[in-house]
Symmetry: D2
Subunit: 402 residues, 4 copies
């Protein structure tokens, strides 16, 4: 019944032009079919860096092109790195490429911030789309029975051979390698650049896990420093945190209104039932933009004001408690007619997930020394030790209107 | 009453990071205020290249960052090129920068294709926003009485000193110089690259018009070839023309339905009254995306099908009449249950506006030779002559469903 | 007796870092051994662009890195382009790579200008090194009897299958593709950039000759325009022609002196016996630099002056006969104490070899149209026709001291 | 009598094309005259990275283009950074640019390694050229009496206002900023890239010394990491150290031979009298190349062998004492007919000068915090602390023939 198996080739290699990789090459029919599904095409409508474009105005690239990029790095590493190639079965090579391609299909509008609105994670949503009925799931099953579950096991680190999931999701994976280069390119910063070619050349395999040859250590240091600097200069920029805090406040208020407007009702349903896949798959950046536009004329003045601000980038500004007190701030806001519940915003707390590098559990980056010993990178590099131990350098702040 | 005049400086130069120009520098308070208006911020929600991202997936950059880029080139040329600097008054230097910044504010969803849906042009809409009440207009007037009209006169080539409008809109203007570099960067092609620095260095002024020094001729040839190749490889790509033809068919059908859905009613109003600025300013790419999502479940099967296709990039394909006849095509479509009115689409006709270079009227690129003579570029370069005379290389086609 | 055959692999792939290609990959033992010969290492001591560094100061790259780059493109095309791969035997793939690597070993000091001093061509010298006893020749013979002659036949276009030599030396060959990109990179100009990846993807084979698929035509146009602009902006720069004319004058005078100085005697021998390979292989850029330094204190005032000028970049300047006459120039020079024989220099005549593109003999670039017809590129592109027909745009000049 | 003063402008700005800075701009007549001196032109004949091109084959760039680049950064910082501009007198702005341009004129053949052959430093030679009669010195004096001494005082850190010499020579100076970018570009590595524009924007001045604004700390970290990685990946590459050790051994032997050959006699004189400026100024890379070529046929077998090896890149290889003992190595070499004095070579010891960053004396990089406090960078960045404290990661080795 199925059109193709795991290995069916395309008649002709399809290529996608890409500024990071030159071309992205697809010659597997299943992978091409996955790219053509509505669920994957939807990633074109979700910006890779959420609200970052309000600060770095050219950061307008989507999860779609990033996902193709992760796939391309995966495709190269499983074929071009002979150590990886020898350690994987032919089936596993396809698994790794599919998991790389699909790792982000669960993302919602404005990427990460949506997770906090819905109290879900994009990884969980990705899993749902892989194992519950969906265009993606059905296609996977048609090629190999149980494939949805297999791909999900790579994304959840449950696949028995660690190398397979480490290539997709670890401290040194195709995901991060693509997004650092891509985010640097599209923001126009240089912090994210590192030597991808050298890392790909120095990857080795020991006990079915990914390690890096000693001579690759500088390239890995460079990559981790790139992550560190991208985090502080781009990902954690104060104005982006501000936009996200404002979105959280807006969401809180919007969820309280009673409405007969279809778009708003749909939004209520979406936030309250994020695991309803059919409504989730209709959510994208345009969903929020359209709501801002409708609600900027709403009866409720707080909704009206916040919608206007989010639409037109009229941001709050940061305030530090060492300069004032919460009580004074609240009084000041009330004097100006602002309800502190929506106008005195906590900063998004930085989770450990955003640390540039941490060595815990199976997540270490391991180096294989010239004499065959395996050591965690912080053991051999004092700079990476300092990086792993580094404390957050930013004082928490609050956001209020100007 | 006004907060600032034409020349009020900012306390501190504002900079925007940009991959093409490194940084974009703003130290004029009026220009910064213009950037902060909702009308200008709206350009963030309109992709520079419309549907091109369906073919070059990273072509996701907006009119916003392009407009900043055009401004930056204008800022540099009026200050750094001493011939231009000497030929302009201080007021004119500001005019040129403002016109460069605002030249695209009239663009609608998906940029150029929207002009054919509304039978307007973005230049006309830009003018309206400059001379009719709007946030932009009001700000301009507050700085200098009549400024809206002055800026409009640069955009319509009516300002008396040709140099002023030539820098903004001509065969060799800041607009094209930015978009070639930017579109090349964001598509990942190399065709749009040329030597901006050299062109900026070799610009001269003769009789208040822009000319290029003879030694800059190769840089200009390079720039025109870049335009030529970007046109054929990117802007005129067959699949983009297909997407646009499908959008035109979709629009035709959508305009016929009776509806009580607010979004659809708003769309009807927008298309029928494009010069109603308040509704026009709410139109952006998200407007169309949201309609596709709503209408993919509409009662009308044609609307349903086309909305689905546009949302999920399920494109028609091209067919050439040398391989078949119109009658045969129509019969074939009808046999498959397709109404040829919406499923046999004409190709978008190429207008002369898209020709890489034409020497007509005041639009010539003039070279000033070493002995002071002024010659049109096709007189001194046989290759540019061939370029100007080149016929379209593409046979017209039609688009039908696969 | 021989250490290796044509196909012996290295234990581990050797890589050379290269800014143009990322890495250059060598895993054939013969090719690596050829790179290690003194004859090939000598190319490190010969600048790719001769005197160009006196104008573009960073054009200091050598024939060595260029030769590796040509090899790398050849290696990729014979393996990655499936049409080429299918048309060549395994032996021919090695031949093409070796010929690409060795095509420039016959170059002398300051590259092309040395050919006019010795009345030889670098191609002829390359042939001599391939077929007469030399480290290169001996190595080739040890791997396969007659291999020197085979490689020479690729360089002289005598190898029976045209595809083989076309990849090495034709209007669209690995040599030109590398040097345009490399010279653009090292001069810091942008004129030489084109889309190498796309050309490599659109190469096809018809009747054992190289053709390009119709969809690659813009990439080829771009490449030919790159050549055209590099020629006029870099290769044919008036100050480089001036330096070369001064070198010719210096050589004429140096060849007349009687001397007992070993370096000068060696130089006389070299110029008079260029086909004496042992002395030729000791000639490199340092040979001329050392002579300039010794002869700047010579008894003969003309040798002294010209040596000083060449060493310290004290160039003549150009003069056009439309501004004066030869007689007037000569009188003026004599009045200033200059002998016109050495101080009134003809411009280097531009040979047809330096034309950006000419369609003659087997040298055409052929396009294969979508319906399988083969057409020369000037038939399908009016711009390339104009390029092929373009006349020199530079008036001949003379050079005299300031 | 003098042609120009410190401030005489050129009639027209001279520009030099440069891949790192786009164009290098000169409009000061004195600076242009300095560039045209034989002493400065000589830097074209000295490779920036000495023997590095034997490992990174494209590292063929000269001290000449580097020196222009350092000047260009200095020119920009003294004009474009308003804090620096306000802290310097107009004279000091010229001093800084001249010192930046001339800081390397004292370098000898193959750059740093030559210092150990002559037991001099290039800084001392630079000083000599500034304060003793030379074309450079005379030109400086003609523009302003005592200028040679003034420029020397910037290079030796004796000029009273620290900002002036810090821009030229410190832990964060125009020299390092240029060479990191330039060496990265010409080697084709990415390790040396950092965000020059941001550093130039965040430089501030406090108490006449250079400090960096807190928001520039990531850019400085990035720059120091770039230095760190360039050091380990490029500058300290084992094969380059090997080449340099071989050159030291060769020099030792060559200095012992008695000879009547002029080139060799000149070399003896040069090494024994490095402060004889007239002979020093004739020394360049070609001097050594020519000697290798002459001496590869010398009577002495050690000179013959080492000359051959250096000419043709036939390098020794490294050996670690943990694998063997000195005695065993010596015995092995003697058995093979090698004299250990010349064939068992110590590794070049790494001096502290090559450490990526050290905070000592006036050499610190200081950060000015948002509240105006000045702190050394290792106080505010734990990663830079780790970098400053990092121990050499390379075990010392010896070099012997294969």
């Amino acid at each position: 019944m199925s059109e193709f198996t795991l290995f069916t080739p395309l008649d002709e290699t399809k290529v996608f032009r890409d500024p990071i990789h030159g071309y992205i090459h697809v010659n597997n029919a299943l992978i091409y079919a996955l790219i053509c599904t509505p669920t994957f095409q939807r990633l074109r409508r979700i910006k890779q860096l959420g609200a970052t474009y309000t600060v770095y105005s050219t950061a307008e690239h989507s999860r779609f092109s990033h996902s193709l990029g992760v796939y391309e790095i995966a495709r190269r590493v499983v074929h071009e790195n002979k150590y990886v190639a020898q350690s994987l079965t032919e089936e596993e090579k396809i698994y790794v490429q599919i998991a790389a391609l699909l790792h982000d299909i669960g993302h919602g509008p404005f990427s990460h911030v949506f997770e906090s609105l819905t109290h879900t994670s994009h990884e969980m949503m990705t899993q749902n789309l892989l194992v519950q009925p969906s265009d993606i799931h059905d296609l996977l099953e048609s090629a190999q029975h149980g494939l949805g579950l297999t791909i999900a096991s790579l994304i959840t680190h449950k696949y028995p051979k660690p190398l397979c999931w480490q290539l997709v999701s670890s401290q040194l994976d195709c995901d991060r390698m693509d997004y650092l280069l891509r985010d640097a390119y599209f923001t126009g910063t240089k912090y994210g650049e590192f030597d991808l070619e050298r890392i790909l050349r120095t990857i080795r395999v020991a006990n079915d896990t990914l390690v890096v040859k000693q001579s690759g250590i500088y390239a890995v240091e460079n990559y981790l420093m790139a992550r560190f600097h991208m985090f502080w200069q781009v990902y954690y920029h104060v104005n982006i945190r501000c936009f996200e805090s404002m979105l959280v406040a807006w969401n809180k208020r919007v969820m309280m209104v009673e409405t007969t407007d279809r778009l708003v009702m749909d939004y209520h349903h979406l936030i309250q039932n994020p695991t309803d896949l059919s409504s989730y798959l209709m959510a994208d950046d345009a969903t929020l933009i359209s709501l801002f536009k409708i609600l900027k004329d709403h009866d409720d003045p707080i909704i009206r004001d916040l919608s206007n601000r989010l639409l037109n980038r009229n941001l709050f500004h940061e305030i530090y408690l060492h300069d004032t007190t919460m009580e004074a701030l609240k009084d000041q806001l009330k004097d100006n007619g602002y309800d502190p519940t929506y106008y005195l915003l906590d900063d998004t707390p930085m989770t450990t997930a955003t640390r540039p590098y941490q060595s815990k559990g199976k997540q270490k980056i391991n180096i294989i020394t010239n004499d065959g010993k395996i050591k965690e990178i912080t053991e051999v590099s004092s700079i990476m030790k300092a990086l792993a131990d580094s404390k957050t350098q930013s004082e928490p702040c609050h956001f209020i209107p100007r």
